[in-house]
Amino acid sequence: MLKNEKLSDEKFQAIRKEVLESWPTGAEVDIDEAVEYHKLHMADRNVPKRFLRARAEGDILIQPRAGISPINACIDLLQHLQDEGLADILPTSVDSYTRANRYKDCEEALGKSEREGRSFLNGLPVVNYGVKNLRKLVESLKNPMELRTSSVDARLSAEISLAAGYSAFIHGPICPTMHYHKNAKLGKAAEYYQHIFRLLAVYTEKGVPMTADVFGTFSNVGVPQSFIFSNVIIEALMAAAQGVKYIWPNVIMQGNLVQDVAATQVLPGLVQDYLEKFGYKDITLMTIANHWTGPYPIDPQGAYALDAINTVAAVLGNADQIMVKSLDQGLALPAKEANGAALRFTRLMIDYLKKQKVAIGGDDLEIEKAMIIKETRQLVDKMLEMGDGDPIIGAVNAYEAGVMESPFSSNVNYNRGKVMVARDSEGRCRYYDIGDLPLSKDIVKFHQEKLKDRIQKEKREEDDINLITDSILSLSRGYLV
């Protein structure tokens, strides 16, 4: 039965056996051999170590999202993003078949690609390539690597990529369940991610530090940060329970400087508090600020501008890494040049800003911080309550009961469509309808007054539906409010 405690060695090995036997390349995975490989070949390309160095130097790292097939094209792409884009951490996104564990389909697509000379996969099928091939890619680059899947069951991808030299892995169970699947169940996903977190910890215990990049859930429509953070905290507690020592809590920039800085600044403290509450020690947290993950402007100048304000907020919020959005994000699959340009642009903005200590926001910032902290605690504490103290059981129960609801989730199991969000007159994200979220009356009132204020200022009708549409689309239209 699901429980937030460290997998026993037997259980872990039993799962691994099953997972590794599910596709031939699984046989290439040998943790001890992989640990040696990491120590010999990846020592200066280890994600957690790179972050510790950056923090000592007062630097902020950048990472794109990228991944294509076949592997040689992927190497070209990542080399470009590294050398021209100046990316510090290199990603590999897997394709949709891999996400769905349809390795057979990957194989067919790879064959067809070879025959027809063009790709039929929207990412790199890391499982099909296997450890040996993937190591070629890893060795062709000089920077550390993170694997990016958004699968409910990403276990084999994790086994293979970590053995191949990757040292960070994205996601816990929540985001893939809420935003990438129609029917997935959170409880099942949580089991799968326990294995991945345990795997990261095992490597770390054997002397190869590995990072769990806990994303919580997407903000695609402009969601109050507390909602995202409550999910991040659950996943951080899950990772910590498996023994993970390097955790990346994520925050998504939403366009309002004060609110974004407030969020970025409070996130690590909030996560730390809960880790301590559960007695998890010696965990290093690094804050990952994401450029806005919702709809982007189609105009490349708009994308530059949105990347710019997101970068300012991330730097002023003391993020450790910025996840960079490509300039063609609003338009089509990122081309290498547009992705490289966005990275290089972000890198240079960081270099202009990183030595500047800028106090921002004043009392206004303090209010936003206090609200985020208070709201997050109410959400997390309710989940803990619903799990009798167990965060993951609590999260599953809360989501099943609709007490937690990810706005505009794709998953029919968890989308009651009650929670609705909108931006206030300064573009800050507020609850339009709180649905069944467990938030206290004063908080609800705070949000509603902010929205009322906008409705009045802009002389809108009380129930103007365009308020929601305008809020969701404003950044993609090239303005905030």
């Binding site: 935003h179 505009f408 929601i468 969701i472 689309l473």
Partner: protein
């Protein structure tokens, strides 16, 4: 008389925001909307339209496989007796940077009545519906 409409996201696409936003707006505008969600097949859309006696099907496709997923849809509608149904499609319909007029033409040629473009407002869709259905 209320007009019935079916919305949904075709293929294995999970992008739900545009479709949900449209459903929400169209409903507010007085239409009766049945939103069958993401990752639906042509058959599911047609069945929903038959069941609800709908006058229009609004298909979203964001992830790039719209062309593949929508192929033959008009024919299948006619096959199942939906002769006069209005078919709209919208989102990020194709992979790669193709000029809009070309994209639109492609889908008009496939038998769609209206082709929605990225960044368009729900209000525009409502205007189309009112023009076409009232």
């Amino acid at each position: 008389m209320t007009i019935n409409i079916v919305t949904g996201v075709i293929g294995s696409d999970v992008h739900t925001i545009g479709s949900k936003l449209l459903s929400y707006a169209i409903r507010k505008a007085g239409f009766n909307v049945t939103d069958i969600g993401v990752s639906v097949s042509q058959e599911e859309l047609i069945n929903a339209a038959i069941e609800t006696n709908s006058q229009a099907i609004l298909i979203s496709s964001l992830y790039g496989h719209g062309e593949l997923d929508c192929r033959g849809f008009r024919a299948k509608c006619i096959e199942t007796g939906l002769n006069d149904i209005k078919l709209y499609v919208g989102g990020n319909l194709v992979v790669g940077k193709i000029e809009w007029p070309e994209v639109e033409k492609k889908f008009l040629d496939m038998g769609f009545d209206r082709v929605g473009y990225p960044g368009m407002t729900p209000n525009q869709v409502i205007e189309w519906l009112e023009e076409d259905l009232k």
